[in-house]
């Protein structure tokens, strides 16, 4: 059974049809990519899966359950975590607090014990702190910045903190919106390694949007291609790469060889 399934999702903003009967799925424990040119509707798809956008038609299924009617916080509580294309960290908080916020859905402390920081509140705080330190902060190698305000961090690290926050939710399905955009080669390699390790160690299903085709080829099991809000191809990375329609979508019009290289993420391509 597919872990996450999107069936015939359609979404329009006024006259703009962002998604047209989009169906994709993510296999349990796999790394699935959604690719497509700018404005294809990838982020809109993620937002619809999160529940932030309300699609006009179609449904979203998690673990064989229809979650289309649920509000975003409920979906998060069911194990749907994500990062954002335009980093959405909470700028008034430290790295540690941002990550702890991810644990919100798994904690229960009520108002009264919070005000006095009595037994339950204290125990829970210390428990999640310990867990986050061990499983997230050490794992992502960000222990040196835990007390820093997130706004002061370089871009690459901010992306990593976003991943940390999503992991602190202990998600079932992790959605990453362009996790390596704007990173240099070294940072990209780190991030690719983290994503692979996450799959190994965390028992999660990864669904990611990515423009960097090299990375998609390297780490993904399955790829869906979106163009103008429609799925135009799906399959193994190598199959998709060779699909003439995909090439045309990326090309618009132009020289096919450059494009093929660009899709492969080879040197010299922007």
């Amino acid at each position: 059974m597919q872990h996450l399934e999107v069936r015939e999702l359609s979404l329009a903003f006024g006259g703009v049809q962002a998604l047209r009967k989009v169906s994709i799925d993510a296999a349990r424990g796999g790394i699935t990519a959604v690719i497509g040119p700018n404005g294809a509707g990838k982020t809109s798809l993620f937002n619809a899966i999160s529940g932030f956008y309300r699609p006009q038609a179609g449904s979203v299924w998690l673990d064989g359950e229809d979650i289309s009617a649920l509000k975003p916080p409920r979906r998060a509580a069911l194990g749907l975590a994500r990062t954002f294309q335009n980093i959405a960290l909470f700028r008034g908080m430290t790295v540690l607090d941002n990550i702890k916020l991810g644990a919100h859905v798994r904690t229960r402390t009520g108002l009264l014990s919070a005000l006095w920081y009595l037994g339950p509140a204290r125990n829970e705080e210390i428990r999640i702190r310990e867990e986050i330190e061990r499983r997230v902060i050490d794992f992502l190698e960000i222990d040196h910045i835990r007390r820093q305000p997130v706004a002061s961090l370089p871009y690459g690290l901010q992306k990593r903190v976003e991943l940390a926050r999503a992991l602190a939710m202990q998600p079932k399905v992790l959605m990453l919106d362009e996790p390596v955009a704007g990173m240099n080669r070294e940072e990209k390699e780190d991030m690719a390694r983290f994503i692979l390790d996450v799959r190994e160690q965390w028992d999660v299903t990864v669904l990611m949007v990515e423009h960097d085709m090299g990375m998609v080829m390297d780490i993904c099991d399955h790829v869906h291609v979106l163009n103008f809000g429609e799925v135009i191809a799906a399959g193994k990375p190598a199959e998709v790469q060779a699909d003439p329609e995909v090439i045309r979508a990326y090309l618009g019009a132009g020289d096919a060889e450059t494009l093929r290289r660009r899709i492969r993420g080879e040197a010299g391509a922007a």
Partner: protein, 293 residues
């Protein structure tokens, strides 16, 4: 029959106030559209205009028309000054900070006025015709009548200005899309200054009219709160919305005040505001804000 006439009289008085709400609302929307600032000090700017007129006409004993001209100029200058000294440095800040800055400005203006003229109520020199007006059997108080006429005329002039005058076109372009306005070579900071100056003048004018209806005191600034309700009901960025809402609220207030009692005037307005906020927060004609993730 008597009841009907009374109803019409009350309604017409309400329309008089409504005209002033609409006029001040236009000043508010002007600032909002051009600079995206919610100016809570609009009531205080209006009050300062009325006091300037009082100071010039009663204090310096200038002829009333000259005093009006100077007071309008003073209101415009005040708008320019506020924009330059306080609002411009705050551009790009969190809108809530800018909003709170205008609360502070309001407080400064009230303090200044009380320092110069004390908080005692005053009477504005008469400049509106004061013969009672009869429309058939219906009696209308002269001040609300004339202020409605003047407000309508001023609004009409401004609507034409926005449409045809170069500065007005620049204003509308900036309101629509600041980046594009820049690209078209519009001097955006100058547009900001212009918007504040015009708003200051309109507010001063409305202040003089209001002062001649309601008498002069620092409490005039509270008028700004009702104007806030008007612009929210109409839609922060919509001139037609504000005109309609201004008239509507002036009318409702007048009805509530006459049939329920004076203390209900504001209650009804603010209750209406809460309803609008719950049902249609962007107002009758405003554009809903779209958020992206």
């Amino acid at each position: 029959m008597q009841g009907l006439i009374e109803f019409i009289e009350i309604s017409l008085t309400g329309l008089g106030m409504g005209g002033l709400y609409a006029l001040t609302g236009v000043a508010f929307v002007l600032i909002y559209k051009a600079t995206r600032v919610i100016n809570l000090a609009i009531g205080e700017m209006l009050m300062v205009g009325a006091y300037l007129f009082f100071g010039l006409a009663a204090g310096l004993a200038l002829p009333w028309w000259l005093a009006i001209l100077f007071a309008l100029a003073g209101g415009g200058l005040l708008g320019l000054l506020l924009e330059r000294a306080v609002i411009r440095p705050m551009l790009g800040e969190n809108p809530i900070s800018v909003f709170m800055v205008t609360i502070g400005l309001g407080s400064i203006l009230v303090g200044l006025v009380e320092l110069i003229w004390t908080a005692d109520p005053r009477r504005l020199p008469q400049f509106l015709p004061d013969e009672p007006i009869f429309l058939g059997p219906v009696f209308v108080f002269p001040e609300p009548f004339w202020s409605f006429v003047i407000a309508a005329a001023v609004i009409g002039v401004f609507v034409l200005l926005f449409r045809y005058w170069r500065g007005g076109v620049a204003l509308r372009a900036t309101a629509l899309d600041q980046g594009a306005a820049y690209a078209m070579g519009i001097n955006v900071p100058r547009v900001y200054a212009l918007a504040w100056m015009l708003a200051g003048m309109i507010a001063a004018g409305a202040g003089m009219l209001l002062g001649s209806i309601a008498g002069l005191s620092p409490a005039l600034a509270l008028f700004g709160l009702t104007v806030l309700v008007v612009v929210i009901v109409g839609g922060l960025d919509s001139v037609p919305g504000v005109l309609l809402a201004g008239i509507l609220i002036g009318w409702i207030e007048s009805l509530a005040g006459s049939y329920l009692g004076g203390e209900y005037e504001h209650l009804v307005t603010f209750a209406l505001l809460l309803v609008v906020l719950l049902v249609r927060p962007w107002g009758l004609f405003g554009t809903p804000e779209v958020e992206r993730l």
